[in-house]
């Protein structure tokens, strides 16, 4: 299942609801384009909802890292919401759990940007 991305605004934060796979050729480029588009429009708070992302490969992990650094370099913040067990385990294994701000609850995540 390819990646689908739905965008919504909550208290000035852009929430991207991702669904499907983030892999080379199946979502990495879509995610990159979505992040760059938001950053270019001056968005300073981005929350990636990964609750329906059931598969990420090393390319997808790299894309998450690139999204994080792209945002940070533009004085924006990118945080993660609702990791599935597989994605959680991958982030722990690769120590990326220490890089990202990760939340289980959307309200807490939104509040953390303030």
């Amino acid at each position: 299942m390819a990646l689908t991305i739905a965008s919504r605004e909550v208290d000035g934060i852009t929430v991207l609801d991702l669904s499907g796979r983030i892999t080379l050729g199946e979502g990495s480029v879509q995610l990159r384009d979505a992040i760059r588009d938001l950053i270019s429009k001056g968005q300073k708070g981005i929350l990636l909802n990964l609750g329906d992302v059931n598969y990420i490969d090393s390319s997808g992990l790299g894309e998450l890292v690139s999204a994080y650094t792209t945002a940070k370099n533009q004085s924006a913040a990118l945080k993660l919401l609702k990791l599935t067990k597989k994605v959680h385990d991958l982030l722990q294994l690769t120590k990326l759990y220490t890089v990202f701000d990760i939340y289980d609850d959307e309200a807490s995540a939104i509040a953390s940007f303030k």
Binding site: L24, E26, D57, S58, S59, G62, V65, T69, T94, T98
Partner: protein, 130 residues
């Protein structure tokens, strides 16, 4: 990339037939995906004149997967550690780390030209009885 999906599907079929549970099947298919992507992207560098050779086998004791490319060759010892603090924010370099994490044995062999990667997942005796 369609061929990579086919590799994943074939690996999952073998893992499923061998009785691996969902987590183990996920590990096996991800390792094979990473190996296939490396072979196509970094090994053969998308050169359509170069081929990938695959061999999947259930020996009874283990699942043995071999992926070989026709690229310039790879020295796995030269790969940077993706867990090192200075590499954590790199966008690439985690594929072989994931393969090593998810499989029980991983061996590289230089083919001149190319690299052959053998990945082994041991099958437990308890699983064979079920």
């Amino acid at each position: 990339m369609e061929s990579v999906s086919e590799v994943e599907t074939a690996a999952d079929k073998l893992a499923c037939e061998a009785g691996l549970d969902e987590d183990e099947r996920f590990h096996v298919t991800m390792a094979l995906r990473e190996a296939a992507v490396n072979a196509v992207l970094h090994g053969n560098e998308y050169d359509p004149s170069k081929q990938i050779a695959l061999c999947f086998e259930n020996t009874g004791d283990a699942l043995v997967f071999t992926v070989a490319d026709q690229g310039k060759g790879l020295d796995p010892e030269t790969l940077p550690d993706p867990l090192a603090p200075e590499n954590l924010l790199r966008g690439t370099g985690r594929g072989i780390f994931l393969i090593r994490s998810f499989m029980d044995e991983v061996n590289f062999r230089q083919l001149h030209p190319g690299t052959e990667l053998t990945m082994i997942k041991h099958l437990s005796p308890a699983r064979d009885k079920t």
